[in-house]
Symmetry: C2
Subunit: 123 residues, 2 copies
DNA sequence: TAATTATTTAAGCAAATACTTAAATAATAC
DNA sequence: GTATTATTTAAGTATTTGCTTAAATAATTA
């Protein structure tokens, strides 16, 4: 577990290393928060769910299960993770829960959606 | 393993479901590719490495090990994953390998970096 | 040449992840 | 009330992930 804290190369720029540590320090909260969002969107199933919500407005777990050909509990568990961090919200209509993207629009995800649309395969 | 392909609610909009499947079909390549990038950036250590490269231009594995207080092999393995998908490239100078972001600038990551900078804690 | 240094690679392992099936909630209909 | 439907939750499991330590490359230096 002994940590090799650095190499001994002459070129190691101590000022740069200090500056880097400071950079991480002042941005640590943003990095932590954003990495969590990216990790969620980094799962293909969840990215599909998010993108479909972006395109369609709202859908229910059973729609996703049908569209993605996955079990309802599998979908539900993906949905919960995204709901837990506040990426999506639900609205109940009878027995059905409709999910949608939170409307304090997330710039990072929006950019991802736009990028997906741009890269669309031209049929 | 029997898949519940859908619920039986009256409101299920068959046209919408077909449209969703088509949306995923025409965008499948972009979704697959982008989800891989997001998954890489969704790890806090890797996001720090990427952000530092964005801020500093280039750094070597041993710098990262020092800055992040992690072992060199751990850093090296994170770096390999990002190199494998073409997010970063290396340049050798003697024994040292300097890594940097690929310069066909990745819009999604760039937006992430800008977002991190914006959310910086005001000291 | 051998020794040192920077890095990568490989093997092993603990923790996290994404599914499965079964059971529990919640709302509606009979 | 019971039955049905939509969804969530829980428990179990196989796969993936991110580290560890040790060994292998690659370049430099003596």
């Amino acid at each position: 577990m002994a940590l090799e804290l650095s190499c001994t190369r002459a070129e190691a720029d101590q000022k740069q290393l200090m500056r880097c540590r400071e950079t991480l320090g002042t941005n640590s909260e943003a990095i932590s928060e954003i990495s969590k969002i990216l990790a969620l969107a980094g799962n293909e199933t969840r990215l599909k769910i998010l993108f479909l919500l972006y395109e369609e407005g709202e859908l229910c777990p059973c729609d996703f299960a049908d569209i993605l050909e996955m079990s309802v509990p599998a979908i539900s568990q993906h949905i919960r993770k995204m709901k837990d961090v506040g990426l999506i919200v639900s609205r109940r209509e009878g027995q059905t829960l409709y999910y949608s993207l939170v409307q304090n629009h997330n710039e990072i995800l929006e950019n991802v959606f736009i990028k997906i649309q741009k890269n669309k395969k031209v049929a």
